[in-house]
Symmetry: C2
Subunit: 227 residues, 2 copies
Amino acid sequence: MDLIKNKAVGSSGSGQKRPAHEQVYHSLRSQIMYGELVPGQPVTIQGLTDSLNAGMTPVREAIRRLISDGALVFQGNRRVSVPMLSSRDVKQMIYARISIESELSRQATANLTPADVDHLERIDQQLDQTIADGDVSGYLRLNHLFHETLYAHADAPILNDLAERLWLRFGPSLRVVCGRFGTQSLPDRHKDIIRALRDRNADLVAKATAQDIEQGMELMADSLANV
Amino acid sequence: MDLIKNKAVGSSGSGQKRPAHEQVYHSLRSQIMYGELVPGQPVTIQGLTDSLNAGMTPVREAIRRLISDGALVFQGNRRVSVPMLSSRDVKQMIYARISIESELSRQATANLTPADVDHLERIDQQLDQTIADGDVSGYLRLNHLFHETLYAHADAPILNDLAERLWLRFGPSLRVVCGRFGTQSLPDRHKDIIRALRDRNADLVAKATAQDIEQGMELMADSLANV
DNA sequence: CAGGAAAAAATTTGATCATATTGTGATGAT
DNA sequence: ATCATCACAATATGATCAAATTTTTTCCTG
């Protein structure tokens, strides 16, 4: 009779102590960030209560947070969906990402130990493997992990937060681009970044980061332009 | 018996059709943005359901959104409060605001008609009046209105969103600074901005905006440093 | 009699609330 | 000082109400 008691949200038992709305938020956030949801796809509260096996209130709160993040959009009528980017949007993102993220990597440079740089290099090697394998999901996760790990050392929570918000916004569209062109067409400047980090040349790190961003985002802009 | 039916949230009958959680959000957002809440002040759900005369669910959702905005902080235990800024935080904000908002004003320049500039000038004149009167609340509102109105013409929603989020973060602290030093000590570069707008000189507009931001924020940083 | 537009019913989804449950900090006894 | 207990606030649930979309029905026109 009491079989409604299975309130497991995160399936895999990672953090059982956190409140349900946190778990729902992070779960949905991952799905959006790594492109498991298609741009334009409607997101319903009741659909999520079913698929995530969670209550209604936690789901509502998670959705509100993600709307605030720009990861979901409220469509005037009460519907919520995954945002579709215009090329105008992407242009703004290119500017914002370069401003914020070059500064983050600049500030991180001085704080990175050689061991930290080695760690980044290992991430980049795994990243190359996902590109070779054509593993889009793995590519998206590791590419984000590379940047996230680098920026974390900048110790600049406010800039970091702005950057995260931008990643959330373009996640779904980036997935579509990768799905269309494959991972082969996504070379990056990570090797340049690592080299500059070893030299502790902050200006060069910032420049390489800017190039990495511009390269990836331009591809996305082009792809959106001729749909 | 049925006297629980007074679900009026917005008191003044402005937009009755919008859902309650939207109204609560905007109401709370204003309170934070214009410094009616002091940094460090705890924010409780039940306190808000009473003071805003709203239900519990709408208040919960509004709080989640504002946490996501950075306008409120979740303190680990279940407490929520208005953020206190460190001078490190302010430094990051100065960089981010200058990057984002100079670009917004640069892009707005070409789109502004002479009538729009006149409108901005009228706002600035009212702003001067609040400074003369020592009207802190009025100052905060009109200063925001000036920038908001200018940036709106840039037609760049994503950059705009990033800028708004930053304003929400420093609102409470700016109020404290104004309260301590009075409005006299807050001269601005709005006259320079207006002059450059009339000349349609985008670079100059961007530069004047950057100076305006730097001037105001440095004052805040100094004030936070020697508390 | 067929086709299509408008109206109305039905279904789906969102919004809100009252209430039960759980976790947190505080108080007081040992 | 440490630990158990208590009170309060936050979290979560399911029920209920309202809005919007979709489907069905109806009626008019060609």
